[in-house]
Amino acid sequence: GAGVSQSPSNKVTEKGKDVELRCDPISGHTALYWYRQSLGQGLEFLIYFQGNSAPDKSGLPSDRFSAERTGGSVSTLTIQRTQQEDSAVYLCASSLSSFRGETQYFGPGTRLLVL
């Protein structure tokens, strides 16, 4: 079956521009996660959704980052006024539920480069 898909696969933008990253989870998965992978920093958890609700947004790096999920499916991660330090691979994962320990399936990521 189809896995987690993300778009775009690559994005180059200029400092100060806004970008929107999209994630399509596996059909039927109610939980959706966003992570950021930077060189030297490893994978960093940003936010998760159970359905359309994000119980805890404290993992987002700054108030320039926001995320939403509609219809219990597609999610978008928006970065406003991008900075060079936002350059990273943004990974999305989904799981059947948000039960702790439920297997998370990852998408291929969006590679963001801020010039």
Binding site: V4, Y33, Y35, G40, Q41, G42, L43, E44, F45, L46, I47, Y48, P55, D56, S58, G59, L91, A93, S98, R100, G101, T103, Q104, Y105, F106, G107, P108, G109
Partner: protein, 113 residues
Amino acid sequence: TQLLEQSPQFLSIQEGENLTVYCNSSSVFSSLQWYRQEPGEGPVLLVTVVTGGEVKKLKRLTFQFGDARKDSSLHITAAQPGDTGLYLCAGMYSGGGADGLTFGKGTHLIIQP
């Protein structure tokens, strides 16, 4: 801040050799997972360990969870070039915290033919 220390960070060995990767924390995990990631792709789950002292085998890969559920190891026997990749450990902590996984920084493994 809960940290997962993974070592070594880089490892390059010859085909046929054995190797071990370690994952350590000062906190207790409710579960720990090992992932493998190849360039341009997301991490792919290899195994989940839940019980202290648990040992799981996946062909030439052996995963062990420490008795106190604070550490884990991945041992590869007779490494093959196809084992090359980034190996990541990730855990869910027992004491709550964010519901996402906490990842180690990974071990970049290169198996030379």
